[in-house]
Symmetry: D3
Subunit: 254 residues, 6 copies
């Protein structure tokens, strides 16, 4: 990682003109579809993920009779959300390892901010379907799923089905990485394909980590790199949580 004074001075610009610590334009549209208890289209630049929250009055076997609920997630990409067409997983007959890894991450991230006892014996399923992919689909999914989950919980509270709010904190996620030696925030597809190190950070509104997943795509990364990436992610998450708050303060579209 270079220690170029230009970077320090903010003079470095990315291929799309962003500063290293700048998010893509983020847009959160609530009520995007009508049937789900929560339905959010989240956009990080050209990345667009539809996150729906569905409430079902049953729990998986390991929670039966426990008095606790469950929060889980599923993830998918439309075949032509990607630059070239990706085979449809339903047609292939199985979900890829990548899909499973991502949906497990989304599920853990949401569970980390939920009080499952307060949820009661019901399941909240977050379906995160990528309509258009341009890098950062998993972090957009987590950030949008939180808003959809919040809308579903608000509806349950309004209907008197929940005695108290099971959500303990907001949660959001962002990617950071080292591209051309420069630590940058919220990588798009071009940056993601060419980066040396890629890290996804999931954090609560209280500034605590839920997940930190850093991967050396090329050269292994140093302790210093790690610290710089964590600091960048920290700033990005704070902005995302503010955007979630603003979206939830507004009226639903749908």
């Amino acid at each position: 990682m270079t220690h170029d004074p230009l970077v320090a001075a903010g003079a470095v610009r990315r291929h799309d003109g962003r500063a290293p610590d700048e998010l893509r334009p983020v847009r959160i549209t609530r009520g995007y579809t009508v049937h789900a208890e929560g339905s959010v289209l989240i956009e990080f630049g050209r990345t667009r993920v539809l996150c729906t929250a569905s409430v079902e009055e049953r729990v998986p076997p390991h929670k039966k009779g426990s008095g606790e609920g469950w929060v889980t997630a599923e993830y998918g990409m439309l075949p032509r959300s990607t630059h070239t067409r990706t085979e449809r997983e339903a047609a292939r007959g199985k979900q890829s390892g990548r899909t499973q890894e991502i949906q497990r991450l989304i599920g853990r991230s949401l569970r980390a901010v939920f009080d499952l006892a307060a949820l009661g014996e019901r399941t909240l399923t977050l379906d995160c379907d990528v309509l258009q992919a341009d890098g950062g689909t998993r972090t957009a999914a987590i950030t949008g799923a939180y808003v959809a989950a919040h809308d579903a919980v608000t509806q349950l509270l309004a209907e008197g089905q929940l005695a108290r709010n099971p959500i303990r904190h907001p949660v959001a996620a962002v990617s950071v990485g080292i591209v051309g030696g420069v630590p940058v925030l919220d990588l798009d597809y071009v940056e993601d394909s060419g980066c040396e190190t890629d890290m996804n950070v999931v954090m609560t509104g209280a500034g605590h980590y839920v997940e930190v997943q850093g991967t050396a795509e090329g050269e292994p990364f140093s302790r210093d790199d790690l610290q710089r990436l964590l600091a960048l992610a920290d700033g990005g998450i704070q902005q995302l949580i503010a955007l979630q708050r603003a979206a939830l303060a507004g009226a639903q579209v749908g």
Copy 2:
């Protein structure tokens, strides 16, 4: 089927206020996503289907070396496009019989208006993904897929990859059915769930049939019922083809 003079006089109104021979509001948005060669969001009332057309420079085994191309389709529903959550087919590990039946129908309908020799040895895949379901997803899918296919072909022609236009006719589809004894056009979910007879008609711009699929959901239907339904469909298809033409005459959104 009643022969109520009120129906004849147009005095019969459906649960959403439409006349028996009235389509839901249809909206066609081209360029809805950026990566696909054709990308169309089609809406029939609250039914919303994203239709993308992807061009790949290879053909399935039965077309290899034939000099001809192939046109095929895949269909899916997002888990929460429906009133209650539907299990994700990728997670279940297989596509349902209904899904396979619909995607085979879409594929046949599009192939019927394509000159596969003029397409050359390439494959055009129409992915039709239901974002929100409210009845008539398969007919919306066919009608939208045609527009997406047209955009993909226009791009191939513009790039000089095609010597001549492989599309011979427009094609569109609509559902008709008998609800409460009255033949109606373009059923929504409420009507579809309660109808006695359901028919999907796929027709070209030249007024010829590509597919006619009528099913008695309850009581078998008479020859007269069949004729009335065919006449209704005829009118609906003509309107849809006019809407496709208008959409293709406009500029793309994306």
Copy 3:
């Protein structure tokens, strides 16, 4: 479609010598195997389908506690029922889209003539297995499955397990199509492979439609073509229902 006076005069002969409106020789053998409650071998010329009806004292989840029964069908082809060997679906690990489409059609066709409340909470499964294929396997299957279902119901009535007959009408099916410009009845494999339009019609003994499925294999077809095909099918179905009645009036073989 030609309007050749020779056709009108009945001078047109098909490749196997049949007149355009002539069925292949149809043979219905009841009691073909011994274990099933109904077991029928039906032959349309060289097409041979074994249809068995099995009664089980349970219903699928969506019928539990409803007081109603269920009628369903499964379809299969023996690997060498076809001209060249077809891969065994059990070995491939899944049923093809075509198989699922056909078995759903058979199930719907039989359910259309059943009073599910009169059947009580039990399931009638029609297994239609093609021993030899020469075109028209799905229409032979429906026509034979009705006879097998009738035998199973007769046995249940004789055993006092049913208070009243749940069968409301006979049901039969036939294919029609346009071959070399001539509308013909009951296509064999050679005609089916070369036809321009293919239609399967399922009709009750009362002359009402259960299913009408017409597909343009090549050129889309006109309104006039459709009317001519429906008329041909009508005549064929009446003959088939007479043959079913005759078979049911005879003694069982097995």
Copy 4:
């Protein structure tokens, strides 16, 4: 195993009246279906298996370029070939362990009498489908598959596609077992369900063993029991090979 003088004197009768060393009536119908190169319906009493032999001009990967051919088998039961309906393996999405074990046995048994070099680089597939099951389906399948294979080879020889006959010996199979203490030949379903020991023997026309598979269903069996069962099988196989010869000497039905 009892050493009852009544058994020795032939005074013991089985539940269906057969003597302990008596086969069920065996019927071999050649040319049962028309498309396959060999097609044989074999009946051992009420057990009926359709055995087809299909020739394909390709070999599995491990034989490519070897100059040798391959002989393989697949086995299936129609869902209602059995007393109560058995789930369709194609619908379940996999073949049971029993099915795989049987089809591997049939394949090995046929390969044992084939000169794969004389067959040339082609595959002979024996499909054995049980139309009606009443015990002994695997031994009927092997015995019938040999006749089907012979018919396919005869056709290849007649067409000049084979320079010499790749069949070295006839092969047949029979079951033997100990029922109520008495060693019996060719068990039907009732006997098979209640037997203490069950053995399947596959033997060539030259009196050599291809397979010997004995299983204690209840009590383990003694050396003496084993010897008595082998002797019984020996006699049964000789009769079956004579029946195969007679069937092959006659004209085909189909």
Copy 5:
């Protein structure tokens, strides 16, 4: 099979120096892993199989409410237990026919010596996983599984969960075969690959057969060959049962 006086005189030596009727060195290590109720590493020369016995307080559906227990087995090979890497069955998504055949054999062999009523309504699962393969993995698995099952039963008896010992006899298995015309005991991989006839024999401590499975790999085998192989197996099994007894008399390792 030769009748060479050298063989009779014991002068014939196998490729690894063994006499024709000599087992490979057999080693049985109890308590090889810590979690299972029984855990045995069994080695036949370089073949190494880990056999664990797991007790679960439930039975499969066909035993529910019967008062009887169940004994079953599963078999697997580590991908690189073999000379060249074998594809992992979990990754392929299904168990091969060979795997299923072997695990069914192990299960039957163990059940043959168990009194399922004395076991009570619980399941004993024998997992036999091949760490290193050099021929005879299924016979090693049966021989080792018996010891693991014995350890599990001893633990249940010690805990007072069983009123009486459900094991009626020891059981062991060995392979025999004809290699280069000479009948030999306990074939290793080299011998197994080149043998003319291969037989697996499973026998109780009382000298009765549980399974006899002989297969001609090349030439069918004679009645005399069969008798010689049975005699060889007999001697081998007696030695194995003595080794099991000795292992069970010692202290557990783990």
Copy 6:
């Protein structure tokens, strides 16, 4: 996380007597099985993983013709490696999300230290099979897989199949976590089940990160917690890399 002076003073002891920064006894046995190019049994206390390295002279499609090789991994647990029996993935017909996530992690970790161009167009597959599980199986797998990969590479170099060593650095992995408020190194099963935060760190011999994966199991964790865990992991990895070096300096067992 407490800041208890006792911890600082090293007075805190874990349930098994270890100090917070103490690894379990680690044992590395090379040449554990004979067929693989590299075969290592690695033990972290009671956790035992067999890691084999297999060399195959082919690459996956995305590397064909690239001149580069590929390094990949598969992971499995024997059914009774765990406290209670885990269903066999081969029998279930698919690998769990956890399995896929772990094997993708192992593969990425090893690829990070490989020069794929120097490996040439061949595939190195690391199979990591858990014989006994007691926490930390994935980190043991990575640490052991490196040694197996090293042995395979040494053999290829010795045979002259590689011009230069494709391994650029050693790589090892360890888990760290917060248990009862205390950051500890190398969690066993008991600690892992009860920990608040769990982190797996993969690092090269040069002290750079390959992967950092931290997950809040209960409460999200603070920046300080993260730093303490990274420091603990650092120390553990250095010890593991020293143990790998020592193991590779010794002679192989097998």
